[in-house]
């Protein structure tokens, strides 16, 4: 995957907006990893992570920098409640670009909806099941899902459609599945008809869902276990369940290349907002 070029912005700040957790510190590790990766490239004057559940909070973000231009990229997997309601409300944003008490905020789309996520998912799927022929494999992209917001599954459905179209060695099937709405990930063995099954969680972090809840729903674990850093679920691939070889990946958001997806969203923002 070759990231789109982005011009250095030595007078601008980048805010990476994440959810965070009051219970599991592992859930915010990817955000800091993405920030560190971008910081090392010297593209912005400052790179900060801001959070809903941790510090610094979205509401404190304005005070973090002297920069007068700030790009905000939601490090979220889908459009929905947080990206459309919470972040704009907390940052006092009125649209794509908002001047808040003298500072200009550019609000980009969340990482999960960017087309470059497709290549990231493919790479992750191949890495987790090395030497396994995709033509004999079902690839399942699993998300949370909620009956409350139709947008929460849109990004996954779109990515699955793109994964089915990709012209490289195609997977026998690409399926979207969810924790809390149909098709349920717990029914994976009924949905998958192949000998091999690769499951990639469409989450930013290895938090409670990807490391604790989904392994139970898949049958890898018998009960919800400890936090991510204390477990070794991913080191035991493949899991032999229901007569299949099940390969379970860590959350897609933990990929180092997610930093490029953040930059891709900024590139797209600039491209679509350049005065003609």
């Amino acid at each position: 995957m070759s990231p789109m070029p982005i011009q250095p912005k030595p007078h601008s700040a980048l805010f990476i907006a994440g959810h965070g957790s009051t219970e599991n510190p592992d859930s915010s590790v990817p955000y800091f990893d993405h920030a560190s990766e971008i910081r090392n490239r010297n593209l912005f004057a400052e790179v900060h992570c801001i959070f809903w559940k941790e510090e610094p909070s979205f509401r404190e973000a304005w005070y973090l920098t002297d920069c007068e231009e700030i790009y905000v990229v939601p490090d979220f997997i889908s459009e929905g409640y947080f990206t459309q309601e919470v972040i704009p409300r907390e940052l006092e944003l009125q649209g794509d670009t908002t001047v808040v008490r003298g500072k200009t905020f550019h609000y980009c789309a969340p990482v999960g909806v960017h087309p470059s996520m497709t290549q990231l998912l493919l790479r992750r799927a191949r890495e987790v099941a090395p030497g396994i022929d995709p033509r004999e494999t079902t690839l399942i992209i699993v998300g949370h899902g909620t009956g409350l917001n139709a947008n929460s599954t849109k990004a996954i459905k779109n990515q699955c459609a793109l994964l089915r179209e990709q012209s490289e060695v195609p997977y026998a099937a690409v399926i979207d599945a969810y924790m809390e709405e149909q098709p349920f990930i717990a029914d994976w063995h009924q949905m998958a008809q192949t000998a091999h099954v690769v499951v990639v969680p469409f989450f930013i972090a290895d938090g409670l869902h990807s490391f604790q809840d989904i392994p139970v729903l898949l049958g890898i674990e018998s009960e919800v276990g400890a936090a991510a850093s204390q477990r070794e679920v991913f080191r035991h691939n493949p899991h032999h369940l229901h007569g299949r070889n099940l390969f379970y990946s860590s959350a897609i958001g933990t990929d180092r290349m997610m930093a490029d997806v953040i930059l891709d969203q900024i590139h797209d923002f600039d491209t679509s907002h350049t005065p003609s």
């Binding site: 800091f32 941790e54 610094p56 909070s57 509401r59 404190e60 973090l64 920098t65 409300r89």
Partner: protein
């Protein structure tokens, strides 16, 4: 002045403490660390660090300001410090920093947004948000938090805030424009706590109730509703 210029000015005035972090800078640097811009350590480790010339044998010695987050994630008792103002920062580490930029980055790692909030207060640009306004803009499952009674909220401040509980920040907000917080250890806390005063130390500021407090408001308001229903 920029944030960095504020920090430079503050250091020249004798600033050396924020939260539980001791900043050994200028003449106070340990003899073995004079090549560094400054050395950071836990306030209770200051004497040990100075005596060991900045390199105590059994201490973790780091030089990357981004490691401030790693050091401050868990307490000595392995508890997750999801609010960074807690008074349980682990000890036995030393951070050698090469520049004032690294110092600002380290402060932000240990106490996110703390320096920017303090500078905003000095500039007169800090916007304090009272609890009722904060609760009034909650949506989703937290909308119900706004139903908490004044008495419930006042009690919650004493049960959740302040150095005796989860947080050692100086509370700037009130319940609403006309209702200050009841006098208590929590509402009275100065955000410094070590007996030092500005500019030797700067306070950790709480400009609005945090999300942990909002979540607790939701629990209390639910309890109040259930008690009313069964009365």
């Amino acid at each position: 002045m920029t944030l960095l210029q504020w920090l430079e000015h503050l250091l020249s005035q004798g600033f050396h403490r924020i939260g539980q972090i001791e900043i050994l800078h200028g003449a106070s640097r340990p003899a073995g660390a004079v090549d560094h811009f400054c050395v950071l350590c836990h306030e209770d480790d200051r004497e040990t660090v100075v005596a060991a010339l900045g390199q105590p044998e059994d201490f973790m010695i780091v030089a990357d300001p981004q490691q401030a987050r790693d050091i401050s994630t868990y307490s000595e008792a392995n508890e997750y410090r999801f609010t960074k103002g807690q008074l349980n920062l682990r000890r036995q580490w030393v951070m050698h920093l090469a520049s004032i930029e690294e110092l600002l980055a380290a402060i932000e790692g240990f106490y996110p947004a703390s320096f920017g909030l303090w500078v905003a207060q000095q500039r007169g640009t800090l916007q304090v948000e009272n609890l009722r306004v904060k609760l009034g803009r909650q949506t989703g499952m937290y909308r119900f938090a706004g139903s908490i009674s004044d008495a419930g909220a006042q009690q919650l401040v004493q049960d959740v805030c302040g150095p005796a509980h989860q947080c050692a920040k100086k509370i700037l907000w009130q319940l609403d424009q006309d209702t200050p917080l009841d006098d208590s250890d929590a509402s009275r806390f100065d955000g410094i706590g070590s007996g030092l005063t500005e500019p030797n130390a700067i306070p950790l500021l709480c400009r609005e109730a945090c999300n942990h407090f909002v979540a607790e408001c939701r629990k209390i308001s639910k309890r109040e509703f259930e008690q009313k229903s069964t009365a």
